[in-house]
């Protein structure tokens, strides 16, 4: 499962009671959660002491006020208030057996929450599991809830005495500051709106996507901040429009198969569209990219897509519970343009192709590359999307025709070739070779298959591309692009040609296909490989020009010099600086990565590289986002070879990468060479856990021969550190050790010197230089 950020696996400890002014039938599809601040300091131990929590839902008569108490690990109570009906969604994990495996229950709440010393006011009502409490039960319920809150606090108190006291206006000691003021609103003109705020060192702006972590959530919820305000009573709020994760709305997905990291924007009218939350409920920024083809949406660049935690291009109407490709003009009172990608994020490449797109039916290669799926979805004026190819060398033009089914994506969910490689996407691959009059058609189901299954089938030379595609998949599932798949298709065509259809017809074309493939496989570098592939194989001259320029621009963007073949490593984009997601200790992560097989040991790096530089390097060389750590040098490590331990996100990815740099692999044609002319060696990492059974020689104890008195002295000697006095045996012996240490220094120096010479000899044979 791809997880964008290393969330702690433990859900935060907290207790939430949401209070509602609506009574909701329990059968309603959506449930609404009250997001809240995850327990920053929640520890495993506090969790273990916690009883299984239920979500309590309260319904409040709109005419009355109620207190919403949110117990966080810090014992803080957040009181929400003020005349907004706000909703959110959450899984009620306490009722797995009652309805369906995933049950969504609904809570909504609103109007005039007021704080009353941590007690829910008498007028409040409570509904649990759709059961509405009667008037006569009220007091009891109130007591129950109060007890529950108190109980939970008691648990906190047990585990964390210092933090668990409830006090008036308890605030976390996390810095919070508003940014620019925006305006004043609200019924009494006492609500101050803001454009940004800074919390825990991270500045959040309007229309940022954020993670909000709800109770018992395996994953945090994602939402977009559309309003930030502070009421006259100094209560801070952020208004969040939700994104739905597929699992939350799986009842209504039906046959829609979402991308792995696809989310759905809430739209329409109804509960679950937006919610008001205290800004403290935000746990961090989330990188959500809109891949919608909507012309109001500034298209995202490939790099942005790679960096995206989630993508969306469909909306989920919370009223009618339907999924739609179209975006209405206004969502939750906010112009839809704010839900699309931000203007400033636009890259040249996307702007250019955004423009092209509307004018031309032909899609340029890089557009496809960037927008793979959505480009196909684009309704084109002649009713066809022709993606033509004409490799200059082989002079075979392959034409991929995407039939009607694919052209109307708005109606047909199956347009996503890359999303569902195995689906019956009815793309047909035509190969109207110049020399051939006959065309062969292949059903797409034969052509497109999951890349994984390819690995075994394709020949040695194909492994590269297949690996690459696989890497793409694991890396960036949603954006797997057509141009990546296409080489696979071709190969598949090639593979199945012998079995299916009429081999004779294609016999002329076939020998050429491998040429094309080889050519594309040998594309100079991984960064432009994609474009080369599509450029070389799939497109007309016209499209080529476009893609050429865009590739150039693209590379300019990245600061990569392709003509010299030497790529400069720049910082990978989108580094998360938030301290929210405290990384687990490296040792632990390494051990886990080792168990998962995602650990790679890189050797032969420049020892002066830093861990983040290695991360950048891997990002540029493999297009993989990794965690890296340089191995710290010590007196017995070689000064010539820097080593780094790299944790990849997925096994496929790490395997691909280590294959690619491992010379022993017959399929690996590429080798990474760093500017200091060292060939980087990669191998599967196998950390030796520093075992406790270390032997340390040289510390002597006289043992049983000692007198008691002496033993006492020895004990003391062991625990203290001292210089030895020159008149003792100890001193004599210590000097012998000193001699040995000096000797060892000498032989290490000699070895290093000799190795340096050997390396230098070899490096001088390398005739590459920077201006080559």
């Amino acid at each position: 499962m791809h997880c964008p950020l290393p969330f702690p696996t433990v859900p935060p400890i907290s207790h939430v009671f949401s209070i509602s002014n609506h009574h909701i039938a329990p059968t309603h599809p959506l449930s609404f959660r009250t997001p809240h601040r995850p327990g920053r300091y929640a520890s495993r131990s506090t969790l273990l002491t916690r009883p299984p929590s239920r979500s309590a839902r309260l319904s409040v008569d709109p005419s009355h006020s109620a207190t919403l108490a949110v117990g966080t690990p810090l014992g803080r109570r957040l009181l929400l208030g003020h005349s907004y009906a706000h909703h959110s969604i959450y899984y009620d994990n306490t009722s797995p057996s009652e309805q369906s495996p995933l049950i969504l229950n609904k809570v909504s709440y609103g109007t005039g929450f007021r704080r009353k010393g941590g007690h829910v006011t008498k007028d409040s009502e409570m509904i649990t599991k759709g059961y509405k409490q009667q008037e006569k039960h009220k007091n009891k319920v109130v007591k129950d809830i109060t007890n529950k809150v108190l109980t939970s606090q008691r648990f906190h108190a047990m585990s964390r005495p210092g933090e668990a006291t409830v006090e008036e206006n308890v605030e976390e000691n996390i810095e919070f500051s508003w940014g620019h003021k925006k305006g004043i609103g609200g019924p009494n003109k006492d609500v101050q709106f803001y454009e940004s705020f800074k919390y825990d060192g991270v500045e959040y702006f309007l229309y940022d996507c954020v993670y909000i972590w709800g109770e018992n959530m395996p994953n945090p919820s994602i939402g977009k901040v559309i309003r930030m305000c502070e009421t006259g009573r100094h209560k801070k709020f952020v208004k969040i429009v939700w994104f739905f994760q597929p699992i939350e709305i799986q009842h209504w997905l039906q046959d829609v198969v979402p991308f792995k990291n696809e989310i759905f924007l809430a739209s329409g009218e109804g509960k679950g569209l937006f919610n008001l939350n205290p800004p403290e409920a935000i746990v961090g920024k989330c990188n959500v990219v809109c891949t919608s083809k909507d012309n109001r949406n500034p298209q995202a660049s490939e790099e942005e897509l790679l960096m995206a935690d989630y993508i969306f291009y469909r909306t989920f109407d919370v009223g009618s519970c339907t999924i739609s490709h179209s975006f209405v003009d206004v969502i939750a009172g906010i112009n839809v343009k704010h839900f699309f990608n931000k203007e400033k994020g636009q890259k040249l490449i996307t702007m250019e192709h955004g423009a092209n797109l509307n004018e031309k039916s032909r899609c340029s290669s890089s557009f496809l590359k960037v927008e793979g799926v959505t480009a196909v979805r684009n309704p084109v004026k002649d009713g066809k999307t022709d993606i033509s190819a004409k490799p200059a060398a082989a002079k075979v033009s392959a034409e991929l025709k995407i039939p009607a089914a694919m052209r109307n994506p708005v109606k047909d969910e199956r347009t996503d070739i890359s999303a569902k490689p195995a689906a019956k996407a009815s793309a047909e691959l035509k190969i109207p070779a110049a020399s051939l009059s006959k065309q062969s058609r292949f059903r797409d189901e034969n052509i497109v298959a999951r890349p994984k299954t390819f690995i075994g089938k394709v020949g040695a030379g194909d492994a590269q591309v297949a690996d690459k595609a696989e890497m793409k998949y694991s890396d960036n599932l949603s954006t797997t692009n057509l141009s990546d798949i296409r080489p696979l298709k071709k190969r598949k065509v090639q593979c199945i040609v012998g079995l299916k259809d009429d081999p004779a017809k294609l016999s002329d074309t076939l020998p050429r296909l491998p040429d094309i493939r080889v050519k594309s496989v040998d594309a100079v570098d991984p960064v432009i490989k994609n474009s080369e592939l599509s450029k070389g194989v799939n497109f007309h001259e016209k499209a080529r020009k476009i893609s050429d320029t865009s590739v150039a621009q693209h590379e300019q963007d990245k600061g990569i010099k392709t003509d010299s073949q030497i790529l400069e490593v720049t910082r990978k984009p989108g580094e998360d600086t938030s301290k929210w997601f405290k990384q687990q200790p490296w040792e632990e992560r390494m051990q886990r990565a080792y168990e998962k097989g995602t650990l790679v040991f890189l050797e032969n790096l420049d020892p002066s590289y830093t861990s983040s530089e290695v991360e950048d390097l891997v990002w540029h060389a493999f297009k993989a986002n990794v965690n890296a750590k340089m191995v710290q040098c010590s007196s017995f490590s070689s000064p010539h070879y820097g080593q780094a331990i790299v944790i990849f996100k997925s096994k496929e990815c790490s395997r691909t990468c280590s294959y690619r740099i491992k010379q022993e692999m017959p399929n690996a044609h590429k080798r990474k060479v760093v500017d200091n002319h060292l060939a980087v060696v990669g191998r599967k990492g196998s950390p030796k856990k520093p075992s406790d059974q270390t032997r340390f020689v040289g510390h002597l104890i006289i043992g049983k021969f000692k007198f008691y008195k002496q033993r006492e002295e020895m004990k003391n000697a062991v625990s203290t550190s001292h210089y030895s006095q020159p008149n003792t045996i100890e001193y004599d012996m210590a000097l012998k050790w000193r001699v040995l240490q000096a000797k060892s220094n000498l032989w290490w120096d000699a070895l290093n010197e000799q190795q340096a010479k050997e390396i230098e000899d070899l490096r001088s044979q390398l005739n590459m230089s920077h201006d080559e």
């Binding site: 991984p526 030497i566 790529l567 400069e568 490593v569 032969n604 002066s608 830093t610 530089e613 390097l617 340089m630 191995v631 710290q632 040098c633 010590s634 007196s635 017995f636 070689s638 080593q643 010379q663 044609h669 590429k670 080798r671 060479v673 760093v674 500017d675 002319h677 060939a679 060696v681 950390p687 030796k688 520093p690 075992s691 340390f696 020689v697 040289g698 510390h699 002597l700 006289i702 062991v718 550190s721 210089y723 030895s724 045996i729 100890e730 012996m733 210590a734 050790w737 000193r738 240490q741 060892s744 070895l751 190795q755 390396i759 070899l762 490096r763 044979q765 390398l766 005739n767 590459m768």
Partner: protein, 198 residues
């Protein structure tokens, strides 16, 4: 960029006041190190460098960050001149000035650019790069061998010293025994000499 440079300068300063200490017994904990080195100044931070090599029995290695570079220099020079025992004897610990590569949280060097490229098998450099890789393996093996050799030497020395120590201990025990049970006195009287103790 200024901030990056400032960060780097701060880091360089940090390196200067850090001491690299090896030949540490596994029994040496952070607390022991701190107490031991507080004699020289104030210890800011102690960090043990994890051992990722295949050898388990390597002595432990630690980085100790002192308050200022003067203290760090003092430690290195004094420990170079006199054998310093920590949690046992007679094997002294060894101190060196820390190097940048030893620290794991080093910032990027401002203004440095890294280039890389992939090589085709047809590329003339490919063969050289391949050789470089082989040499890497070879060097790794050499270093490992050297390390093993060093460990063997250390063990040999420890063994020797253990024997010496036992012999010395036996000798002293004998002398003490002779003195304690009055044999020495008797012998002194017998040969009309002054007793050792008197």
């Amino acid at each position: 960029m200024d901030s990056a440079e400032a960060e780097y300068a701060a880091f360089e300063e940090k390196v200067r006041r850090t001491v690299y200490i090896d030949n540490l017994s596994p029994q040496v904990t952070e607390a022991v190190l701190k107490t031991a080195l507080n004699q020289f100044g104030n210890v800011d931070k102690v960090q043990f460098i994890p051992n990722y090599t295949q050898l388990n029995s390597l002595p432990h290695v630690a980085l100790v960050e002192m308050e200022n570079s003067k203290q760090a220099k003092q430690i290195v020079s004094e420990m170079g001149n006199f054998p310093f025992m920590m949690s046992g004897m007679p094997r002294p610990v060894r101190a060196r000035a820390a190097e940048m590569e030893m620290l794991d949280d080093r910032p990027r060097k401002p203004g440095r650019s890294i280039n890389f490229r992939w090589l085709d098998p047809q590329h003339p450099d490919f063969k050289v790069a391949k050789e470089l890789k082989e040499v890497t393996r070879q060097h790794e093996a050499e270093a490992l061998f050297t390390l093993e050799q060093q460990l063997a030497d250390e063990e040999k020395l420890a063994e020797q010293q253990s024997v010496t120590l036992k012999a010395c201990h036996k000798k002293f025990e004998l002398i003490e025994g002779v003195l304690n049970d009055g044999s020495a006195d008797r012998l002194a009287r017998r040969y009309n000499m002054k007793a050792l103790n008197s």
